[in-house]
Amino acid sequence: MSVRLFVSRDAGAVAVGADEVALALEKAAAKRGVAIEIIRTGSRGLYWLEPLVEVATPQGRIAFGPVTESDVPSLLDALASNTPHLLRLGATDEIPWLKRQTRLTFARCGVIDPRSLDDYRAHGGYKGLERALSLGSDAILTEVTASGLRGRGGAGFPTGIKWKTVAQAKADRKFIVCNADEGDSGTFADRMIMEGDPFLVIEGMTTSGITVGATKGYIYIRSEYPHAVEAMNAAIVAARRGGYLGDKIGGSTYSFDMEVRVGAGAYVCGEETSLLESLEGRRGLVRAKPPLPAHHGLFGKPTVINNVLSFAAIPFILAEGAKAYADFGMGRSRGTMPIQLAGNIRHGGLFETAFGVTLGELVDDIGGGTFTGRPVRAVQVGGPLGAYFPRALFDTPFDYEAFAARDGLIGHGGIVVFDDSVDMRKQARFAMEFCAIESCGKCTPCRIGSTRGVETIEKIIRGDRVSENLALVEDLCNTMKFGSLCALGGFTPYPVLSALKHFREDFVPAPTTLQAAE
């Protein structure tokens, strides 16, 4: 009998050598005449341990990591003789970092073969859709609403209400659009789930389609994610072959099919109306709302547009019931959030947990502080449009409202950690610069404001009339915040103002003490 090994094919694992390790394992095993079978999974999300190699045993999977090509011979020795190995981490499921998570959405990610529909079904896949088909539209809407699920893209709009609006709209065609334009730095949950459990996204979108009466779906994936594009395309073909996309899904009377569309490097296309314009083949100019996409979306038709993680949460909710999901969380933030720990962090990766965990627990305890070993000084939560928080705010619970109350946002759940070498003037300048590069140009506060913002912060950095220019930046931020058409111009002030507020000492040089005259 051959030994079953699991090595991730996730882009994050491949970037640190997973392909080379898999190849080395194959070669070394062949040379020794040992029969092995390597299954390329998604990532478990423990990126500091990638490339992670897991071995199937009667007691469950045993993990080794981070494995390099040169570790392969000793690893095979240890497996053959059942002796200890320096990289042995024990049972994967018992690794504390993984064990303390609540994996509802990411339950299968890193476990199954993302190319295998059978593997997906063997691990509970399509149970949610089967129940959805038996429930019908109204009952599905009741479940999704009762789960308390809010849009995971960042805006946090209740998913059930959005779906209901589209379900009630009358039109000859309706669309389901999945926003996979995950452009925020520090976020990679969409990428991971598309690469590691693509059928889950398809199942979520299909469920949405049968609920609102849409027969066509598009998933708009950014071009920076070629591995995710490949994985989704392969899964769509497999789902079609298995009768889960196309006419009469799963033997029902419903029809739904979908296709992948690839972005072209515009950050603003993550904004839903810009994304719709781009899908229609135009410049990604933001649309004024109303009308809402739910009424007037893709090609002018009623459209459900949700983030990857919103669709990915749906199968669990339907399979296990709304209550099972809503039992997790705090306040109006129900369920779990796949949080992404990134940047200068020792234990970076994906940590799915119920809302309510504090920022300090996430960064210091779970993340283990910085990998440089220097003190954590600032964390940016929620991508390039999210606020910079100092340690003083580490008691903030991870919750939409709690972050908003402190002039921040959780966005798509990314946390980027900076050590004490960070210059917050540079980060504030970058926020404006990024907005200037990526602005769609439709509204003046964003298009012009961001460029003026860069110039003014540069004056501050040069020491040119610092207090006057600081006041000017604050004023400009208010104009952008209240005058911009979408979140790009409207939220760029968050990182800028938070840097000014919490890290003032970086902007205003300490007064030089005059030397007493001799």
Partner: protein, 158 residues
């Protein structure tokens, strides 16, 4: 591995356009397909796309120029993209970008005089837990440090 592109050919261009012209919202799909075949979107292709989709030349030009991905001339033989977003900045990406610029003698967004290497910024490869990261001709590299960067630069210059 260096990507191999076909030289621009009008008949081949027309074939590619015709292949996708009937899809809904086809403009980006066609521009991607043209760039995949030729390595860039030749100026001559713009009016052809416009005609196939019943759009004005200005509209197609507008789409082409809006998106960072589309090139109006071929890139260097190798394209080295360095992630310049916050997670990579936090992990020492600024110094590595400056090092790459110095080694190659070009600033980000430019191609070396010998047309060997195009050095570009990219805003997030989604490898934020193994930052800083880069992509050389489609191959991803994480946990970049000076040594790994130098190796990448040397490989690109070959």
């Amino acid at each position: 591995m260096t990507a191999v592109y076909e030289p621009w050919d009008e008949t081949r261009g027309a074939e590619i356009i015709a292949e996708h012209a009937n899809r809904e919202g086809a403009t980006l799909v066609i521009l991607h397909a043209l760039q995949e075949a030729f390595g860039y979107v030749p100026e001559a292709a713009i009016p052809m796309v416009a005609q196939a989709l019943n759009l004005s030349r200005a509209e197609v030009h507008g789409v082409f120029t809006f998106y960072h991905d589309f090139r109006h001339k071929p890139a260097g033989r190798h394209v080295l993209k360095l992630c310049r977003a916050e997670a990579c900045q936090a992990a020492g990406g600024d110094a590595l970008a400056a090092r790459a610029e110095a080694r190659l003698g070009v600033s980000l967004g430019h191609t070396t005089a010998d047309d060997r290497v195009t050095l570009e910024p990219i805003y997030c490869l989604g490898l934020c837990a193994t930052a800083p990261s880069a992509m050389l001709d489609g191959r991803l590299v994480g946990r970049l440090d000076e040594k790994r960067l130098d190796a990448l630069v040397a490989e690109a210059q070959r």
